[in-house]
């Protein structure tokens, strides 16, 4: 049964996943790869919410719904992000993030 596993282990995995996402976000040059990293982070957060809800407030559903909404928001932002990426690709002929710096200064 899941109760045999301490919550800490899940939380560690969730947090590590989050910071792996951060690492990816900081190092990847490709915007889509950055988006993937961002998805990792979002997933990690949703995961932590679900775990904490399961362990700490098993009779309530706050964390549960939070995860649910996070997934919904992630869907929305992925849709917009991909639209932007496609537009960038159309305008710059690249999706290398370092070359998209028209907004500087």
């Amino acid at each position: 049964m899941i109760s045999n596993i301490p919550a800490l282990h899940f939380l560690i995995v969730g947090s590590l996943m989050f910071f792996i996402g951060v690492y990816g976000f900081l190092t990847r040059k490709n915007i889509i790869a950055m988006l993937l990293s961002a998805e990792l982070m979002i997933n990690a957060v949703a995961f932590n919410f679900a775990i904490l809800n399961r362990y700490v407030f098993p009779v309530h559903l706050e964390g549960y719904f939070f995860s649910l909404f996070i997934i919904a928001v992630a869907a929305a932002d992925a849709a917009v992000a991909i639209a932007i990426i496609i537009n960038i690709y159309r305008n710059f002929d690249t999706i290398e993030v370092e070359e998209v710096d028209d907004m500087k200064y």
Partner: protein, 609 residues
């Protein structure tokens, strides 16, 4: 033309009123217990300064102000009439009369001032009207420069005047002449006691006030503006730069005379010295000039030096005060004959269209009235009896002799110089070489000759006025004693000067050149007015303009403003440096964001635990 007639008529009225006032004052109202008292006609507060100090405007009548009223209005009337002819057809005729009236107004205001600040106000106004009149021919650069010079030099002198007034009023708490010049007044006691760098504060203030007078009266070393002021129309020179405004300095000293004589004798000594030196200095220069108006200008400076000297050697009251009377007497006679000389010179210039003696000669044949009146004036100024100048000059010499014999000998010598340069002028213009004129010179019209004749009568007869009965330092009648020894000495040297001039200039000859060559270095220096213009030019142009003003301007633009711009530029540089953070590299932002969050979170955690 209408403007001239209006101005002349108004001034005629004023002259009549002045004579009426004088009559009333001297023979009816003025005398109480044998002494002339000061009458304050009215006195109205014009401006309140402190609790005790306020500037009043009013009318003060006492012997010297009434005397000055007569002089100013008479000469001014003559000049107004004369100008109707002289200025006929000039551009800006109405402007000329407007300025002339402004000047007369200011001068009369100055004369009747009840307090020293009113005097300062009108003092400035005569300065301004003098500026306007010297620069009347404003299209001529030399006239413009002369007017500017006159104003600035006198303004500089007025600075001293103003500071003197400030010092005096601070210690006495009043501007009022009545309080200041009261011989038994207590207001001056404290200030006479306070000393500052060796002299009492009162002496300092009186010296500074004299500086104002010296500026206006063209005393050495502030004399340089007066010869240049001859760029103005000649009647203006007659009115302002010979008869009235330039004696304002003498009038100022005379007005403050009790203060000088009783409380500040040191400053009086300075006045005497300046007067004596100026008279000698200017007379020497006058001997070498060739522009007839400039000769007259230096002559004026020299004669005013006489007046200053007379005041400087005088004391308060009684016999010692004879210098005061002499000074005022000479002021009056000088006004007559010097105005006459200038108007005569104007008449000559009007006929010949030149100021240079070299262009003139034998004019007596063409202009008899001018020649005769001019001769009278020359005799008068040279001190030949029985013309007016003789009597007044004699009194001055006598006063100098009783007080400081050294000044007597200086002035005696100057009297000889005076006779010499005046007759040099007279012979050079009316006798001398026969000159061919392009236009035959004509005698001036009636409007110009009438004033000449009137003034000639004055210059001839004014000496018989028993002046001491009316004007004296303490208001008591003072009978001038006649000194036969001094009179004969002065007649002697005057005749000597006359003879020398006749020998040199009566007929055309090469003698003048030989004499000039004999005094070569000295002659050249005097011809160049002892290089004072150059010196002042050096001070103003090289020192004030190029060594103070321009470096300051540079300093302002490059250091002060440069500093302000530097601040601006530094902020800009900083902004440029800072904007590099805004690189457009999203990952860089994210990195900063993440590390920022980490650092902040760490800080909070550490702070909490």
């Amino acid at each position: 033309m209408v403007s001239g007639i209006i101005g002349t008529l108004v001034l005629g009225t004023i002259t009549v009123l002045s004579y009426f006032t004088a009559w009333q004052y001297f023979f009816t109202d003025g005398k109480v217990d044998g002494a002339y008292r000061a009458i304050t006609g009215f006195n109205h507060v014009w401006l309140t300064l402190t609790e005790s100090l306020h500037i009043d405007l009013g009318v003060l009548l006492d012997p010297i102000s009434v005397m000055m009223l007569l002089v100013v209005s008479t000469i001014s009337l003559m000049v107004h009439i004369y100008s109707l002819g002289y200025m006929k057809g000039e551009d800006g005729f109405y402007r000329y009369y407007a300025f002339l009236s402004l000047f007369t107004f200011s001068m009369l205001g100055l004369v009747v001032a009840t307090n020293i600040f009113q005097m300062y106000i009108f003092w400035e106004l005569v300065g301004a009207s003098s500026y306007l009149l010297i620069g009347f021919y404003y299209k001529k650069p030399s006239a413009v420069a002369a007017s500017k010079k006159a104003f600035i030099v006198t303004r500089f002198a007025d600075l001293g005047f103003l500071i003197g007034i400030l010092i005096l009023s601070f210690f006495t708490g009043t501007f009022d002449f009545a309080a200041l010049t009261n011989p038994s007044g207590q207001v001056l006691g404290s200030i006479a006691g306070t000393s500052f760098i060796g002299l009492s504060v009162l002496s300092w203030s009186m010296i500074l006030i004299f500086m104002g007078g010296a500026g206006k009266s063209a005393m050495f070393p502030l004399h340089i503006w007066l010869p240049d002021a001859m760029e103005g129309p000649t009647p203006v020179s007659a009115l302002i730069h010979a008869a009235t405004m330039v004696v304002a300095g003498v009038y100022l000293v005379a007005r403050m005379f009790p203060v000088y004589a009783i409380w500040a004798p040191e400053s009086l000594a300075i006045i005497a010295f300046v007067g004596a030196f100026t008279s000698l200095f200017a007379a020497v220069i006058a001997c070498t000039q060739t522009d007839i108006k400039r000769i007259l200008a230096y002559s004026t400076i020299s004669q005013i030096g006489y007046m200053m000297l007379a005041l400087g050697v005088a004391g308060y009251g009684g016999e010692a005060g004879s210098g005061f009377t002499a000074s005022m007497f000479h002021l009056t006679t000088h006004a007559m004959f010097k105005a006459l000389l200038f108007l005569g010179a104007g008449s000559i210039i009007h006929a010949v269209h030149s100021n240079e003696m070299g262009d003139m000669g034998s004019l007596r044949k063409y202009m008899p009235v001018t020649a005769i009146t001019f001769l009278i004036a020359c005799l008068s100024i040279s001190g030949i009896p029985p013309f007016a100048g003789f009597f007044s000059k004699d009194e001055i010499l006598a006063a100098a002799y009783t007080s400081q014999p050294i000044y007597f000998w200086v002035e005696w010598f100057v009297a000889g110089l005076t006779a010499f340069y005046m007759f040099r002028l007279y012979f050079g213009v009316f006798w001398g070489k026969k000159t061919e004129y392009k236009h035959k010179p004509k005698e001036a019209p009636l409007s110009m000759t009438i004033p000449l004749i009137v003034l000639a009568i004055g210059a001839a007869a004014a000496g018989f006025i028993p002046f001491g009965d009316f004007v004296s330092s303490d208001g008591l009648a003072h009978e001038a004693s006649f000194h036969w020894n001094i009179a004969s000495l002065s007649i002697l040297i005057a005749l000597a000067g006359l003879a020398l001039a006749a020998w040199l200039y009566l007929r055309e000859s090469s003698r003048p050149e030989k004499v000039a060559a004999g005094f070569k270095g000295f002659y050249t220096a005097a011809y160049h007015k002892f290089y004072f213009d150059e010196l002042y030019l050096f001070i103003t142009k090289k020192i004030v303009f190029e060594l103070i003003s321009q470096p300051l301007a540079w300093f302002d633009r490059h250091i002060v403003d440069g500093f302000m711009n530097l601040i601006g530029r530094m902020i800009y540089r900083f902004a440029v440096a800072v904007k590099r953070f805004q690189s457009g590299q999203m990952q860089q932002y994210a990195f900063v964001f993440v590390s920022g969050v980490v650092v902040l979170a760490l800080i909070i955690l550490i702070w909490w635990t």
